[in-house]
């Protein structure tokens, strides 16, 4: 008994629940604080062997020799997998059937195209033997010069940037706008390569049973990973079972299955036993994606009243020599500030690095820090307060497209955050504030924005004879709180208390929940859950209203409410019947409904859909040493309906701290001679630690959006970085009078 509701159908009844909007603590909290949450590398099937990767120590060239004999002679080593004995694949790992099928290094030849590329896999009885075996391989190389840096090769204009958007876009006449301007600014900013560095290294435990494959591995997109693996091995997708109940962070790096994960599967195939392969931290700087560096030039013109007459935003970025991902940094200028003329463009160079990838707010984060810095420079050039300048150029419609916004409570974000921060007392000129200890103090702000994206998802809902419910969707929890937020949506969708709902996720044998990315998972899978709930309740209502023995007989679907495990007549709530009674009368053990989540094409066409926010930062700079500390951050965000304010606030905090990190901490440093990354570890690649994190506040600004989806959900996972990085940068300028133009901001930049 299945009823399926499509994404754009209105459910024919009302479900009244109380779970959505509640600040529930995490439902997976107990497992996570007791160490019983099972992450991929915690699995240990019987007979399992350990695999260790050997990776290239050069950026470009060829592996000339590997001492396989030495490795094999080491006690405990079972096998060494190289291009010579790697099991055959059904598909070429260098084939690319669609833009999101990234090319993988699966020992298809002896070529090296980036540092830390896999060149062999050693499989052993113990981790120690595998690791030592890998060291014994002592690779010899034929080395070619590495192409490094934003000027390391010939520039070209990519065919598409980000998810395939045009590399060059414009409206109006930017040159004329600049020409007619009273005031002009031009500035060039550089952002570094960054690596996701989720705390959990990519890991896989793979076990073959004939042509069936069982895998534990973290994945932000189970169905896509399943399809990719099935294609590589020439087996049916349903023969690949991936379990990913918990991801130890993803941030985009676990969106696609990576080469090392597939090598774990190949190793298991080669030895005919289950194999565990876990990347070492330094091995994560290469094959699992990164945020590409950018160099961005912004030009802006303003009239006598501080209104923008033109915005020109050009970004150079980098990709690998063998695949395409282009950070769409300049696109940040499409949505925030009204201007009669806007031109954005990208070009790129190809370097001997791993292929860049989506990393938390790809394009938005890099573009935002440059755009918000330039806006601050423009405001100062006009002699205006940065908030006043932003309000003067407030976009009532999306600047690039002219589309109305589906909703936009940015004004309220500015107001609430500015008020909370105390912005009104800020001196206009820099270097005017000092604290009691003599530290230079500065206040800066930035606007945050992120598109409200939806993908495709499906869910299955079941109501059981005992009146309880089940909701299934292969959703992925990488810390954003899917286990909790989706259970809340499921409870309301089924008209049940949350404790009456069994929620299943994190496994590829469940309905495809789409990807946990683009800040679109809650909206997409949430709508699938919502619609599956509607479908099964509609089925239940049919059973009741069509049966003379029911107190709901004759009410019709339109006239029923679902709440607390009962259906009620809409016009007479004294007449109701429990789910259990309805199913018992019908003699059914359970009934099922299915739902989908997807963007509505009509509203996509009509509206610009974005979440917005405003972030204010205070920094203190040591006038003698140039050391910078962020001491206070206040953000206010409007992102449609909030499913769980406790978890949403945590997403904002996390994003804002990533913004601090962007401005002050993170940078992968490449050696210009060898092309190797010099700081591929967590001591030298700086991410914020507890002591780096100041007082952070995130205000949740109410926003109803009737157009994004029936639940009114936008997305909260990435927006916090945008705005924040710029706010910190602008606060540094306000403290010191020095305008940072390269990131992360360095002490030497402060000392001039």
């Amino acid at each position: 008994m299945t009823l399926e509701l499509g994404p754009n159908q209105q459910p024919a009844h009302t479900r009244h629940g109380s779970s959505i909007g509640q600040p529930l603590t995490r439902r997976d909290g107990f497992l996570k604080v007791t160490g019983t949450a099972r992450f991929a590398a915690d699995n240990h099937p019987p007979g399992m062997l350990y695999a260790a990767l050997a990776v290239s120590s050069i950026a470009r060239g060829r592996v000339v020799s590997l001492d396989v004999e030495a490795a094999k002679a080491h006690s405990g080593v079972v096998e060494v997998m190289t291009p010579l004995n790697r099991p055959a694949l059904a598909a070429d790992p260098d084939a690319k059937d669609h833009p999101f099928m990234f090319r993988l290094d699966l020992l298809q030849n002896d070529r090296v195209r980036y540092p830390n590329q896999s060149i062999a896999v050693v499989i052993a009885q113990t981790l120690e033997a595998a690791t030592e075996g890998a060291a014994l391989l002592s690779p010899r190389y034929e080395v070619l010069p590495a192409r490094v840096g934003l000027d390391g090769a010939e520039g070209f204009v990519p065919r598409g940037v980000g998810v395939g958007g045009p590399a060059v876009q414009q409206k109006g006449d930017v040159e004329a706008g600049l020409e007619s301007a009273r005031t002009r600014i031009e500035a060039t900013y550089e952002t570094p390569a960054q690596y996701h560095n989720a705390m959990e290294p990519h890991a896989i435990v793979a076990a073959w049973d004939g042509d069936r494959l069982s895998i534990d591995t973290p994945s932000q997109g189970l169905a896509m990973a399943q399809g990719r693996i099935a294609g590589l091995f020439g087996i049916a997708p349903q023969n690949v079972h991936i379990r990913s109940p918990f991801l130890g962070g993803g941030f985009g790096s676990k969106g696609m299955i990576s080469g090392p994960q597939v090598l774990g599967i190949l190793a298991a195939k080669l030895v005919g036993r289950p194999v565990k392969l876990v990347l070492r931290r330094e091995q994560m700087f290469g094959p699992v994606g990164h945020r590409a560096p950018t160099r961005q030039t912004l030009r802006m013109g303003m009239d006598g009243e501080g209104r923008l007459t033109a915005i020109s935003h050009h970004a150079r970025t980098t990709s690998s020599t063998f695949d395409d991902f282009f950070e769409p940094a300049a696109d940040a200028s499409h949505t925030l500030y009204a201007s009669p003329a806007i031109a954005t463009s990208h070009d790129a160079v190809r370097l001997d690095t791993g292929t860049p990838l989506f990393m938390r707010a790809p394009g938005e984060a890099t573009g935002s820090i440059a755009l918000e810095s330039a806006i601050d420079e423009a405001a100062h050039a006009c002699g205006m307060d940065p908030l006043e300048f932003r309000l003067r150029n407030y976009a009532e419609v999306e600047p690039m497209t002219g589309k109305p916004f589906s909703s936009k409570a940015l004004r309220e974000c500015y107001e609430q955050a500015a008020e909370r921060f105390g912005w009104a007392s800020r001196p206009l000129q820099p270097r005017r504030m000092r604290d009691a200890d003599g530290f230079l103090t500065g206040w800066g702000m930035g606007t945050a924005t992120f598109p409200a994206i939806m993908f495709q998802a499906e869910a299955r809902a079941v109501l059981r004879a005992d009146g309880s419910g089940l909701m299934e969707t292969g959703a992925q929890d990488m810390g954003q709180g899917a286990w909790t937020a989706f259970a809340q949506i499921a409870a309301d969708g089924l008209g049940l208390d949350i404790d009456q709902v069994d929620f299943r996720a994190g496994s590829s044998d469940l309905p495809n929940a789409g990807i946990a990315g683009g800040s679109g998972h809650t909206a997409t899978a949430g709508m699938a859950i919502h619609n599956a709930g509607a479908a099964v309740i509609a089925r239940l209502a049919d059973l009741a209203t069509g049966n003379e023995a029911s107190p709901l007989f004759g009410a019709g679907n339109e006239g029923v409410l679902a709440r607390g495990g009962r259906l009620y007549r809409r016009d007479d709530e004294s007449r109701s019947e429990s789910y259990a009674d309805i199913l018992a009368r019908a003699g059914l053990a359970e009934i099922e409904g299915r739902g989908k989540g997807a963007p509505d094409p009509a509203s996509q066409e009509t509206y610009a859909k974005h979440a917005h926010g405003a972030v204010f930062a205070e920094v203190k700079v040591d006038p003698d040493l140039g050391q910078i500390r962020v001491t206070r951050l206040v953000g206010a965000f409007a992102a449609g309906r909030v499913i769980n304010p406790r978890l949403v606030r945590s997403q904002y905090y996390g994003g804002m701290i990533w913004g601090v990190s962007f401005a002050l901490h993170e940078e992968a440093v490449t050696d210009r001679r060898s092309g190797r990354i010099q700081n591929a570890n967590l001591a030298d690649y700086h991410v914020p630690v507890n002591a780096d994190v100041p007082s952070v506040e995130a205000l949740l600004v109410h926003e109803d959006d009737p157009h994004v989806n029936a639940l009114g959900i936008k997305g909260v996972g990435e927006i916090g970085i945008t705005g924040t990085a710029g706010a910190v940068t602008n606060a540094v300028w306000h403290a010191t009078g020095v305008r940072p133009r390269r990131f992360p901001i360095r002490i030497e930049d402060m000392l001039g």
């Binding site: 603590t25 995490r26 997976d28 909290g29 107990f30 497992l31 996570k32 604080v33 007791t34 160490g35 019983t36 949450a37 099972r38 992450f39 590398a41 915690d42 240990h44 006690s75 405990g76 113990t126 981790l127 120690e128 033997a129 030592e132 560095n197 989720a198 705390m199 959990e200 290294p201 918990f246 991801l247 130890g248 962070g249 993803g250 941030f251 876990v278 070492r280 931290r281 929890d477 990488m478 810390g479 954003q480 709180g481 978890l647 606030r649 945590s650 905090y653 996390g654 701290i657 570890n681 967590l682 001591a683 991410v687 914020p688 630690v689 507890n690 002591a691 780096d692 994190v693 952070v696």
Partner: protein, 166 residues
Amino acid sequence: MTTTLPISLTVNGHHHELEVDPRVTLLDLLREQLELTGTKKGCDRGQCGACTVLVDGKRINSCLALAVSHDGAEVLTIEGVAHGEELHPVQAAFIAHDGFQCGFCTPGQIMSTIGLIAEGQAGADPERIREGLSGNICRCAAYSGIVEAVLEAQQQLARTDRRTAA
């Protein structure tokens, strides 16, 4: 065969007599041989703190400790902190204050917090708590919640101590 050495360890109150490869770290011993996988490996070189456990009451990075060098030690891991369903005050406070997101660094954060409180150095000063927990990286950046959780758990533990003393 690789040489092994005999050691004895008490882990979460259970005594073990073991023969270990001298290359095996305490972390890998716990995870791969004793099936105590709550303790996590984030970097394997003492930079992230995900592997924090208490050895003889002191917090250490178990990835930097060779198992053979801790013969006779008493080890407490995340699995030994709760009493069945009853959470330790630090664990409960981490849930209440959303002191984690993905949960991967959480066992290390909690063990480090228990160690920090026992050291008695941080008191109720958030600045010193932040400093004292800065060996434990949380890439999700749940730091605010962690500090709130530490403050609350400390109070809770102090109350319990007073009751016990009285």
